[in-house]
């Protein structure tokens, strides 16, 4: 965060995108129409991408736009269109009073618990020594590539198997019904 020159500018935008993310997330869960909900979720994801950039994770920000909004959400919208689910259905798709009450309670409990964490990283800095990032020679991506292809090489390879299995599964499931 080498933002010594424009701290106010930086802070303003950070909060702005944060608010956008939060507001569109709230709008997303409250929309009846799947299409509208998906669009608000896309909006949240864009705001998150901006935040990633501001947190010095430019590569992840780009991937966020490409993968999440560009691929995953497009597939969602595609399915919504394919199944012609654009309009809200006759039956309410929100659970009954009790369901909402319980969900709300769990939600509040979660928020309260998680918000309590917000303080802790400030102390944390003193506890676990932050890793000193060596000066990067290969640009932003090199910083990510190094752990990915050294320490997490195995994880990287595993994702390929994971995708393979997922592709196969998706194809099997989405095929037409078997003939009797």
């Amino acid at each position: 965060m080498n933002n010594a020159f424009l701290p106010l500018f930086y802070t303003f935008h950070f909060y702005l995108f944060g608010l956008i993310a939060l507001a569109s997330a709230v709008l997303f869960v409250t929309r009846k129409s799947p299409v509208a909900a998906a669009m608000w979720l896309v909006c949240t994801m864009f705001a998150l991408a901006a935040l990633y950039v501001m947190l010095d994770a430019q590569f992840v920000g780009v991937m966020q736009v490409l993968v999440y909004t560009g691929a995953i959400m497009v597939v969602f919208l595609f399915v919504v269109m394919l199944l012609n689910l654009g309009q809200p259905g006759d039956i309410s798709d929100i659970r009954g009073k009790w369901g909402r009450l319980v969900a709300g309670f769990i939600g509040i409990a979660l928020v309260a618990e998680l918000m309590a964490l917000a303080k802790s990283p400030l102390d944390l800095r003193l506890v676990v020594p932050p890793v000193v990032v060596p000066p990067q020679t290969g640009g932003v991506i090199a910083g990510i590539a190094a752990p990915m292809f050294k320490e997490y090489l195995l994880a990287f390879e595993l994702t390929s198997i994971l995708l393979l299995a997922a592709i196969m599964g998706a194809v099997v499931l989405a095929k037409k019904k078997d003939a009797r």
Binding site: L154, A155, L164, A165
Partner: protein, 506 residues
């Protein structure tokens, strides 16, 4: 020998059995696509899958026999891993064998299910090996995604599709919790490597850090979903009921075993220092799970749902082993896992034989008088029921599994006597529904309109025969198994103290 996991070739060496399975699965994918769908093709792919699994077992046994160990790194090379692998691989073999007959009988011709079982199994093996939360997460997802698909494999069946949907949504939801837990633990300790987390908790006195504790809590919720502990169990009866029965057997045995193996390793390796924080929650989780699982199972009329609740109850028993947290706890945990896997698998194998198109033959009423028409199936089912109940000799290994568990609980330093007594009392409750099946099969007449039972397929017979024989023989001679499980506790990485601090954090 000791593998230095920081060198890629050695890492590869330490993963040999996993690689055998993965490469085999990929080759079989090609084989599946080679010829058009047909029953013969399905069976030949199944046979090939069995061969791949057998090769993997051979590799695992070879590794388990040699004195292998590993330095600090993302995976563990210890007996715990090999023992868990054997459980998964055996269950996978059984699943594929059952699946071959099941597919033939219900006219489901796709061969992909066998390959997906292989992929799921390789995910499990990664979970059992993982000493890094990220690797664990990826293994879990490999397993889960394959099993989501497997649950919905019967494309003709509405129930199957529903089971897949419910399983998927709840599974993904649980993944979210698990992942957030990983993030928070990473935030608190700066590491995802289990042993490093453990060391840092001690080194920096993180015992009461809020972030760590919340992270552990979220991990607990995530694992709670995956092992179907009450109150995170609601997906499992539906998923178990709707999935094709061989897959249900797989879910109840291997999938659950894998989730538990990972759960156990994470808790023992990383969080044993903060046991004050999770002791009480798991205590409650275990007791509620035992009570609810057993009591609700009493009310079930569908055999698959009954077995699902029974498997929830068994999750409660296994949580007791985690609570014991000792080396003995680990040994009893593995022993129980194997016994439970055998018994559940046997039970579902019988159910798979009696099921028509995933819809008929699933009520408890359909089991009445089974003895008069299919004595062997009835006897096998009775053995499995008694094994799940923990009955000596007739229930074979089930008794010693429970016995070992009780021993671990009673010898633990923590006061687990109430939990042990609860375990015993809920076992009595479980007699209510397990014996109900036995009673129906042996003491009631066959109903007039009871479904006609098709011939048991050859592979099913083989699986059932081996399973029941194993249950009974191990129930009389458990000494060797006891010795093996005692030796198969999770081992810390070799020379962890020196290198781990620097390497694993970045």
């Amino acid at each position: 020998m000791t593998f230095d996991l920081l060198i890629p070739s050695q890492l590869l060496g330490a993963l040999t059995p996993d690689i055998v399975l993965m490469v085999g699965a990929m080759l079989l994918m090609l084989l599946v696509a080679w010829r058009p769908e047909s029953d013969d093709h399905q069976r030949s792919v199944g046979r090939a899958s069995l061969i791949v699994l057998a090769l993997t077992i051979a590799a695992v046994l070879w590794f388990a026999g040699g004195g292998f160990a590993a330095g600090p790194g993302v995976i563990a090379v210890d007996k715990f891993r090999w023992a868990a692998d054997i459980v998964f691989l055996l269950a996978a073999m059984g699943t594929i064998a059952l699946g071959m007959d099941h597919n033939t009988r219900d006219g489901v011709v796709h061969a992909e299910s066998h390959v997906l079982v292989l992929f799921a199994t390789s995910g499990m093996m990664i979970m059992a090996a993982a000493r890094d939360l990220m690797i664990l997460f990826l293994g879990l997802e490999m397993m889960s995604i394959a099993v989501y698909v497997l649950a919905g494999m019967n494309r003709r069946s509405e129930r199957s599709a529903e089971a897949a949907l419910k399983y998927f949504l709840l599974g993904a939801f649980a993944t979210g919790f698990l992942l957030y837990g990983i993030a928070l633990v990473y935030g608190a300790t700066g590491a995802t490597n289990l042993s490093v987390i453990g060391q840092r908790i001690m080194a920096y006195q993180l015992h009461h850090t809020a972030m760590l504790l919340v992270g552990v809590g979220l991990l607990l919720v995530g694992f709670g979903f995956k092992v179907a502990a009450v109150p995170f169990h609601m997906w499992s009866p539906d998923a178990y009921e709707g999935a094709p029965t061989p897959i249900t057997a797989f879910m109840a045995s291997a999938v659950k075993a894998a989730a538990f193996a990972a759960f156990f390793r994470v808790w023992l390796d990383a969080f044993s220092a903060i046991d004050f924080a999770w002791f009480a929650p798991i205590w409650w989780l275990a007791s509620i799970t035992m009570i609810v699982g057993n009591v609700v199972a009493l009310a079930q009329r569908n055999i698959k749902r009954m077995l699902a609740y029974s498997s929830i109850a068994h999750s409660g028993y296994l949580l007791v082993a985690i609570e014991a947290g000792t080396k003995l706890g680990a040994a009893s945990f593995l022993f129980y896992l194997l016994a439970y896997t055998l018994a559940t698998f046997g039970a579902f194998a019988v159910v798979a034989t009696l099921t028509r198109n995933n819809e008929k033959g699933l009520d408890l009423v359909d089991y009445e008088g089974l003895w008069t028409v299919r004595p062997w199936l009835a006897a096998s089912m009775a053995v499995c029921m008694l094994a799940l109940m923990g009955f000596p000799i007739f229930g074979g290994i089930g008794f010693f599994a429970k016995w070992y568990l009780l021993q671990a609980a009673l010898s633990s330093e923590n006061n687990l006597i109430p939990l042990a007594v609860l375990l015993v009392l809920t076992s009595v409750v479980s007699a209510g529904y397990y014996l109900n099946v036995v009673r129906g099969m042996f003491m009631k007449p066959r109903a007039e309109g009871a479904p006609v039972i098709a011939a048991t397929g050859p592979m099913t017979r083989l699986v059932l025969g081996i399973t029941i024989a194993a249950i009974l023989i191990l129930g009389v001679f458990p000494a060797q198994l006891a010795r093996w499980t005692r030796a198969s506790v999770p081992a810390p990485p070799v020379a962890a103290a020196t290198a781990a601090g620097q390497t694993a954090s970045r």
